[in-house]
Symmetry: D3
Subunit: 129 residues, 6 copies
């Protein structure tokens, strides 16, 4: 049922993205509530719940892609946070971003590191790993 995709996706989104993800959804409620629903249902209710790839690897893939694309800073920050939430180390995230210098150029990697620094500092302030 559609409600199952939504409920499953909402749980997954909270588990992975935490408060940052909930804020994204809340911000959509005023002018694009259906995009909020789709964001819960398709990425989280369908894709992140799939077997066949562990969630740590999924976040590595997402951090890599968003660093390489270089035009989605808010979402990259959400997913650096998410990667740490699901058990990636800061070192692993930095390694993924450095590797993107090879595939998308040094500016993409440098801007990825800026995003990581911001998230790492925010987590330091909250005493998070």
């Amino acid at each position: 049922m559609s409600s199952t995709r939504y409920e499953r996706g909402w749980e997954k989104l909270k588990e992975i993205d935490g408060e940052a993800g909930e804020r994204v959804i809340a911000n959509l409620k005023d002018i694009a509530p259906d995009l909020a629903r789709y964001t819960i249902e398709f990425p989280f209710g369908d894709v992140y719940c799939r077997p066949g790839l562990d969630v740590k690897s999924r976040e590595i893939a997402t951090v890599a892609a968003l660093t390489a694309l270089g035009n989605a800073a808010p979402q990259l920050k959400v997913h650096i946070n998410a990667a740490l939430n699901v058990g990636c180390t800061r070192t692993e995230i930095v390694e993924v971003i450095i590797q993107m210098a090879v595939y998308a150029g040094f500016p993409a990697a440098l801007n990825g590191i800026s995003a990581a620094r911001e998230i790492f500092r925010a987590r330091d302030e909250k005493g998070q790993s």
Copy 2:
């Protein structure tokens, strides 16, 4: 020493990318031999040799990024092959590519699957997993 980066990189490239990687290098020898050298030294001699992220995760990151960028089909194919060479399953690769529908759109994911199909078939013919 510079020769060490080259030697280490050349071993790594052969281990990861196999024959497809060697062909890329051979093709550069005529008009851009120094780009061949840089390709061995920086991505493979420097980056892929780094500790802090296992090589399977590195290939997941690369397949994700190249699928999302969508403008580097030859390199995506080399790295789908490479991912299988270092122990990723076909299922894991397909999962990474499907996930890119979320971050880079359905056309990027559909074209990524086309690249995967081509590599999977070529490996079937050689009896490779």
Copy 3:
């Protein structure tokens, strides 16, 4: 129900993309059947069925975006066909593509025109408008 999204999406896909869309789905069945299902459910079962924007405008938006991105030629061709299927004129499609010279540069527009020429010729051979 999930089956409703699928059924609704499948009807919509056939109505809009015609045979070309069915071939895309058929091609996914071997190695990524779930991506076939998502392609039917999310773009067609969810998005293209929405009220609030007529389907002609939806295809104009898609042709514009795929021309501008410039890295998804197969999908651009499917949607030039789709735009004609839902009532856009060839002139309207050419106008959208020319306009992309402004927003994504002349190469994007020139490559968009190449895609349009190919589709227009294929339709000429079938006696389609």
Copy 4:
């Protein structure tokens, strides 16, 4: 005559983009006055004046392309405004942006909605539709 393209383009730019467009031109006057002139002459004097596609459809195409490209936030905002100026509804603009989740990924659509929210609020303050 060249002056005709300029005059025609300047009228078109004011009609479509309004004050926001005039500010873009004014800002170029100091260091790149010829780019100001080209922006008036080619996009507005040549392209937007063409018959064959109505101006509402032209703005839908532009909002779609700029949302999908994801690297031109100032111009996307100008054209969300422009789309409303020429008769698109807020709903139609939101629909175009949601649809871009399919072709360019959810981050592109989410950032497009952020741009729309900013423009809608600014127009609310001025009592504009």
Copy 5:
């Protein structure tokens, strides 16, 4: 006068792009003749005729940009040819492309070298430098 931009642009296009450029224009004549005209008038009649930057530097800028964007192979080939036509050496072109590994990643540079190889061979066959 508009005809002056066209005539000036046509001469410039033939001088810089040679036969390859003329073919691009000829190919547009059937379905998008006005895009042919704009391609002559704006890039060549307006931009390439400007003082303030020599034509060799203009072609270096274009080869760099098209290599970095990575989604416009036909136009990159035209401009590698054009760069050689206006006095760039093959070495200079290869250097520009190698440098793009830094700013757009190794895949962009590798694909740029493939384009250069194709053009260099075609010129070898014609006995051109």
Copy 6:
């Protein structure tokens, strides 16, 4: 020797990018010191030190590419500064950026001019050309 690439790169980076480049490196020292080292060694120690293309042409290529990509504003600003440091005139930089309207669209060129304006003003305040 590896130390030679680093030393040579560090001198080149200071010569070309000046203080802005040194700040980029300093900012990396906390969380990605090896990316700082790679940025010195590969782009500056390897690529910018190569014969075959003068450094002014190299900066023209970089400004063109970063303007066209449109997703690396901090690096574009560093390289507009760098281009001026190595002898490009402000006019030449503005010409390169205007030309990018042809290859990457007007938004890319307009945003490139915004970056140039910011750098030109900062240099005015320091009495730099």
